[in-house]
Symmetry: D2
Subunit: 265 residues, 4 copies
């Protein structure tokens, strides 16, 4: 029943290089946990260390924390609702509700930062410097020919400008990371507005995808960063659910509406 | 089939007070996300804001980040192995593997910080100042009479001192949070060593439970903090699993050992 | 950080006795899978074999299948809604949505069959035959003194009789499993109606808890049976969600209601 | 942050057509649950009803149950190990461990039945009758040219014949469902053996994919069937883990092997 099993498997050793522990020391990604990390780095820097294998510079730390902070909270998302509805059934197992809140972080929501980063990273995969305007025009033309939405631009509510996107790009500029990915994302938005004749500001997804690319994260690691940040948001919503529950109300309304018998009576 | 359904339910409004969004602003826990949080607070401070409803002081921020950083990584834990084995089957759904890694954060592992915090918070629930030595003696006597292990002390490897615990208590002292919970935890360890006649240093769990209590977190929120931090560790292990896989090896060895037929042939 | 780790661990072999595989045979719980199970037993009988370690009699098979069939579907439960909302975010990972649908099967919903079975099994734990009426009176009195709802009786909709409960008890009688647990459950309902002065028919949970007890399942295995059956129901709802989606609507309504700005505009 | 949100959404009603409940009746997929399903259909027939919207014939019921029974148990799979390792951390939340056991049912293992069914259903998508031999030759040639393994054939242990596959095809023949999909699967295996010059018997995955196609299940529903069956297997392994634990041993060995310090000392 197993595709993977067909591959020949050598008797490889079981080893993780992330941490080493001895009687008096724990070393994580090459740094003594007690003396070099605890009390010296913040959670965003620790996350960078875990993901990239080295501590961030001060500039990278501020920018990466900014991305993470942006991703923490987005209101009553489907993920948050799934977590709250799960908590209603098993309040004794917080981890189950948090896990339910992460399971929808797939292709449709937070995962869309992946699409932006992939678009940008593939467009600029050449080592040689390229002119960005033609690349932007080409991207827009390609999506238009498929009648597909360009990832990272436009927002149903923030119609003229997404305040998070502007802020992230400002910080990227301040920290010296307003490079080619940021520039290309800006050009794509301009070109799309020109071609489609309506306001299509860069949204948070677009800014995050561009900034992660500037920070050297491969596009397939973007979802990982989203999961790190969203866990915090989901936990806060479950705390609120405990004190001010709404899940039962969502359930009862859905059930009542679906049950014609009850809604008629 | 539902216990909860029996409760009378008024038609309560569906509302979350965590965030508010309008055309040009997103406000999270009372702070403008773009102008007051992104680029100004780190992920640990954001987590504190989400959990407690207010931003931490500089002192709280350093101590809370220290706790979070301590919790991120603990080697090839059962959680990490569950995540890696899940990734082996569905590498296309990172969120599924991360969720599997959180689902075991229950009563037996990270959740044990809850036990420590509950012990300390219940022991010091009186408003009146109490002498701590008798409380410590009482705690130790109570656990001994049940032949139960006292949470927060002793470690199979760090036999004389857990470097993380010492460091967390130093930071608590530096930041002005070395209060009664920290003092009680220290006294419990001393009393247990005296009563049982062997080294029983405060371990990371013990230090975290005491420091979270100093930070005013109710004991039932400790698991939530562990989930926030562990997500980061689990993600890093999945990144390692992608590049240096071990899950298949763990599987093949377990299967081969269990299958007498194959191990004999 | 680990409570479990403190236990001394011998180097125990890794072994599962559920199945054995050799070049030409797979043996599950003592039966040749290909020649004795596939094509000969139905899924309910297979589930009984897996849980109990032996095949059911014809009578047990009919009764156990009846319990499972009863548990499959219950409309737009919180579990089903959590699954559908997860599917909205990651339709490419069906297993993630199904898992989200199981994560709320805890203390509050399907898990309540556990409460019924525990109540009945503890009340009849004596080997000696006991008179059932006094036991029933004692149970009702005990719950009333705590002002607690008695598990297994009463239903917000099926006020006079739960058709599933009646049917399950009829089948238990037909198959020779209408024993002391079923009798006690009936007496508890009668006594509760008498004491509280209103109709409190046995509900599906009550009937399932009693019938599982008759089948010899320890109360802590009831949740396991619920999980088996509910997976099937959740899968069917996800199939419906794919073709006739409602999750986005639930999300948009919740978000709109919570966001005062949008609901005003 | 949301791709889906961009789609215009009408105010669609929230409705599930799977079940209807009134004061005295529960109707599931058009059948009265109490009088037509409980006690009359087995769990496999109920699963068919839920998935397909109608009850199976006697022939379909036997064949579909056979497929489900085949999928229940496969030894210490990665899924089972993930479930057991999760149970080690939160034995109080069975649903969390079961969910962990389902989360790896993705592209690499049980999900491979999807690949077989897709291959067969796409190869025979024409309404006109086609000759099967050229189709089989074409399939084998296509996979060979990509140096890809053909799904559904070959097995590392059952080298000459997979007893499950043979049995499933026998039952399909007996029940009148040994049609074009089964025939094409057989021809593909024969052609692959001829072309590659070694035994490549149809494995369980291959047989299940073919039989599900015969039963009219679209290929993208195969994973759903696997999830239904595997839940039962995972639950049984967790029951065994409770009584005869191995997860701690797997964990301690992995940790010891990875920690050079400990393995040297």
């Amino acid at each position: 029943m197993t595709r993977a099993r067909r591959k020949p498997v050598r008797d490889v050793p079981i080893r993780s290089r992330i941490a080493r522990t001895s009687r008096d020391r724990i070393v994580v990604r090459g740094h003594n946990l007690a003396t070099e990390l605890i009390g010296k780095v913040d959670l965003g820097e620790m996350a960078f260390l875990m993901l990239r294998g080295r501590l961030p510079t001060e500039h990278e730390a501020r920018l990466f924390n900014a991305v993470l902070v942006t991703l923490v909270e987005h209101g009553l998302t489907p993920s948050v609702l799934a977590a709250r509805l799960t908590y209603l059934g098993s309040p004794e197992a917080l981890q189950a509700a948090v896990a339910a809140g992460l399971l929808g972080i797939g292709s449709q929501f937070v995962g869309t930062t992946e699409d932006v980063a992939q678009l940008l990273q593939e467009a600029l995969s050449e080592e040689a410097p390229v002119e960005l305007e033609p690349v932007a025009r080409d991207v827009v033309a390609r999506y238009r020919s498929r009648a597909a939405a360009i990832p990272g631009i436009g927002h149903p509510l923030h119609k003229t400008a997404d305040p998070r996107a502007k802020r992230l790009f400002d910080i990227a500029d301040e920290e010296g990371y307003g490079g080619r990915y940021v520039a290309l994302m800006r050009l794509i938005a301009q070109e799309a507005e020109r071609a489609l004749g309506r306001a299509l500001p860069i949204n948070a997804t677009g800014a995050i995808g561009a900034v992660m690319s500037e920070l050297g994260l491969p596009w397939h690691d973007c979802r990982a960063v989203g999961l790190m940040a969203r866990t915090i948001g989901v936990v806060a919503h479950l705390q609120e659910e405990r004190d001010h529950p709404i899940a039962m109300q969502i359930w009862l309304r859905a059930e009542a509406e679906s049950s014609s018998v009850r809604s008629r009576s």
